[in-house]
Amino acid sequence: MRMSAAVPATRPRSAATRPARRRAAPALPVYSGPFGEAQAERLLWRAGFGPRPGEASALADKGLRGAVLSLTHPPRARLEGPGPTDSKGRPIAPGDAWGHDHLWWLDRMVRTNQPLVERMALNWHDWFATGDVGATRLNLAQNSLMRRRALGSFSALLTDITRDPAMLLWLSGTENSRDAPNENYARELMELFTLGAARGYTENDVRQMARALTGFTNDWSRGVGPHRFRFEAKRHDGGVKRVFGRRGKFDWRDACRLCLENRAHPSYLVTKLWSYFVPTPPAPRTVSSLSALYVHGRYEVRPVVEAILMHPDLHEGPRLVKPAIVYVAGLLRTRGRPLTTESWTWLSHLSGQMLFQPPNVAGWDEDRWLDTATICGRWKAANTSLQDQEIDTGDQTYDVAETPEAAVSSAIAFWGGPGITPETRGRLLAFSQRCADGIEHRWQQRSYRVLRQNALRMLVATSPDFQTC
């Protein structure tokens, strides 16, 4: 994830313990410029995985407000088009085969009719970044929780995550008992999930919070693995704790509540949420308006997301590097192609993002998607997305008189006509012309044009224009 801005500092501890004061939300500005296909295209990449064929124009017809509401209130979930297979045409096995959990989710990103729900599930996966806990069904169950709670109450999400079996395993929740405290979840609950590092809590709060979070346990048996996750009063430390300057016999539900009520929380949540959609930091004014919206809405996420998606900063501000999995899913979604190989697992890894395997509990580094290694991975992903679509040099129907300009336009149209800058178009044209100039023999007339078109499609898909949105 990215924190787009330094999160506002909190007051001294005594103040940090009080719930945020309720006040009228200052109005949030709404983008009022033209909303055409270009704007709809950006929105679909920021709030989803890019347009399917024809989708940008259909969304543009709704106008900004209608477009945003159609994303935040999607139709009943449906996966459209053929389902995923491995390279031998067999169905995937997300619960059993290594890497197929990744394929399973990637396929949903490609085929969903609820792109924002799927994108929010991805955002929550980054937020509560849980890696492989050695029991895929538990990771998948957590994924389903994040999808179910995608646009709902953060309070409910936090409560469910805190007792989620995958999370209990990942951050040692079931290892944390009255007799043997383990600080793992307590620290991250505050540092990463609700408050931000060194905002509104101390090292002592970490230790005290760990006591409040004691009591979870699970069984383990051969063949079944971890199961029967539960809270047991006898493992819970029932004593008085001091957290954020407050005293009480706090338990895990209190722990969640205390974090939500900490005045450092709303600004942390809205700033972090904003960072998933907009690359520039929100103005302090925006943070306080969004925070007020969030608190007034009793921790509902949907209104905050709607305000961000309609905000001028999203539509008028600078471009954003597409997260690796968004880029990868978008390659297929844009072309309306299904997953037909398990190679997407390692291709996504090379591109810098393997689902269910975040680099650490803080999730992926949104400021470092592109470097010389990951751009090579993205190239390979684009190349694989073109499997079975390359034109054969033996194709006698290919236009032997295709001009350099027509070749470039055709390659851009192949990807659904994404916005391409004049700089890129100029270089594409220069390449196209160079290929034409390179024709020395009669037999090259057609074959060079075919090779050129295959190459142009790669150059469009890997251009800085298509890597960003």
Partner: protein, 463 residues
């Protein structure tokens, strides 16, 4: 059941993510929330600024593949025997008391009832008879016996921060400053590197290491040298070559643009150059390596494979100066530590020993030093889950034929050697070690790179 991580290490993400506007520096950061070096100056502006630097040197075509190629060739020719430093990160905070177990300390078995080394296990550590090498570290112990390893039995800094994010950041930037935006090796490269040699700072983990984050000089990241290829389906011959050039050219056309386009463009331009430099190392169609290693490395893991590739690249004369990579393995051992620790340690030690033999076999050993480090050690007392929580003083190793091979600082002991929180006190400071390496290995003024360098004791590190 595998142990669990707190996994906040490599906080590469999070607050380091506080993005600055291009060219306008970093926003203020709250105490305790360090940016990873290179953030803000990252993608967006780091790369763009590097590009800008190159532009000012070479003019408008600076980012064409040709200019970088010339830069790499010049750098290789200018100093073929330049010293190389390899930084190996043990990510997560290695339990130093399990690498060199203080079995001779009277408090050891009481603090480590489940995790203590069995009597007689491992081998003696010649420089301190209280300590014994873990059996899985045998190859490292052997290197030490041959005088090629300087051991730091409790390295760190005063008032160690127990957040993976913060402590790692300090080590990466070479100062205890949450706001520092460039890595310590990056600052060295900014001083001595060139504007056209991205190989001078090479990350081998498939993403940029913050220790290598520069303000200006270009650096590169690859997974391994063998797989760095850009094949296009249905494209070959002249058209393929022109496609590769066009890919880099399109990037260069954007490299001086602000924001994400510029960042993506600069990366593409650099990738085009790197592809050319690494052509000789590309795996063949059957996935066979284009190079052979004179020694055998442990199989089946990225870490030894990357070290093997690195040795081959050094042997080929590529102008590599500073390298960063992470060792494989799980070091953030909060639970059931023994399950993975020994395997991780053995893989790491065996890989490092193989790399050392490789360099020696290739006649390169006097050119390279390897610094192995971790963000902190772990608490002296084990926790209730047969694991260990975050601590303070940890361990580091400096490996090479040119390493002095003598212990730096002493093991502080488990009595007075522990601080109020029960963590080992540091007996050497990482900033003093960095300063020593800059001066003794790179012959560079440390004061220009490590803030307050004059105030840190300089261990003798190099011979």
């Amino acid at each position: 059941m595998a142990h669990h991580h707190c996994r906040d290490f490599d906080r590469a993400a999070f607050l380091r993510g506080v993005a600055a506007e291009a060219g306008r520096g970093l926003p203020a950061v709250k105490p305790g929330t360090p940016l990873p070096a290179g953030t803000g100056l990252s993608r967006r502006s780091l790369l763009m600024r590097s590009a800008g630097m190159a532009m000012s040197i070479y003019g408008a075509s600076a980012l064409s593949p040709g200019a970088f190629e010339a830069g790499v060739a010049e750098a290789a020719a200018a100093s073929p025997n330049a010293p190389v430093l390899v930084s190996v990160f043990l990510e997560g905070g290695i339990d130093s008391m399990s690498v060199l177990a203080p079995t001779g300390d009277p408090k050891y078995r009481r603090l480590r009832p489940k995790l203590s080394l069995p009597d007689g296990a491992g081998s003696a550590f010649a420089e301190d008879d209280r300590l014994r090498w873990h059996p899985a570290a045998a190859s490292l112990a052997a290197l030490h016996g041959a005088g090629k390893v300087s051991v730091f039995p409790s390295i760190g800094y005063d008032h160690a921060d127990q957040s993976h994010f913060t402590s790692r950041h300090y080590w990466e930037v070479g100062q205890t400053n949450a706001n520092a935006a460039t890595g310590w090796l990056g600052r060295y490269l900014d001083r001595v590197g060139t504007g056209a040699n991205p190989l001078q700072g090479l990350s081998l983990d498939g993403s940029l290491s913050p220790a290598l984050a520069t303000a200006q000089a270009p650096v590169a990241a690859i997974e391994g040298p063998g797989s760095y290829e850009f094949w296009g389906r249905g494209v070959w011959g002249d058209v393929e070559e022109w496609m590769h050039e066009a890919f880099a050219d399109i990037g260069a056309a954007h490299a001086s643009s602000p924001g994400a386009l510029g960042a993506a463009g600069a990366v593409a331009a650099r990738a085009g150059q790197l592809r050319r430099d690494l052509l000789p190392f590309r795996d063949d169609a059957d996935g066979n390596k284009a190079y052979t290693s004179p020694v055998e490395y442990p199989a089946g893991d990225d870490f030894p494979e990357r070290l093997a590739g690195l040795a081959a690249m050094l042997a080929a004369g590529l102008p590599i100066r500073c390298v960063a990579l992470s060792a494989g393995g799980d070091w953030d051992t909060h639970d059931n530590q023994e399950e993975d620790f020994a395997d991780s340690l053995k893989l790491t030690a065996d890989s490092l020993a193989a790399f050392q033999s490789d360099l020696e076999a290739r006649g390169l050993a006097d050119r390279a030093l390897v610094l192995v480090w971790s963000e902190f050690g772990r608490r002296a007392e084990e926790n209730g889950s047969a694991g260990t929580d975050h601590g303070a003083g940890g361990t580091a190793f400096l490996i090479g034929t040119r390493a002095r091979g003598r212990m730096v600082g002493e093991f502080p002991g488990l009595g007075r050697g522990l601080d109020a929180e029960g963590n080992l006190r540091a007996t050497s400071d990482f900033r003093g070690v960095y300063s020593g390496l800059l001066e003794q290995w790179f012959a560079t003024d440390a004061a220009a790179i490590i803030p307050g360098a004059a105030g840190f004791a300089r261990p003798e590190l190099v011979r």
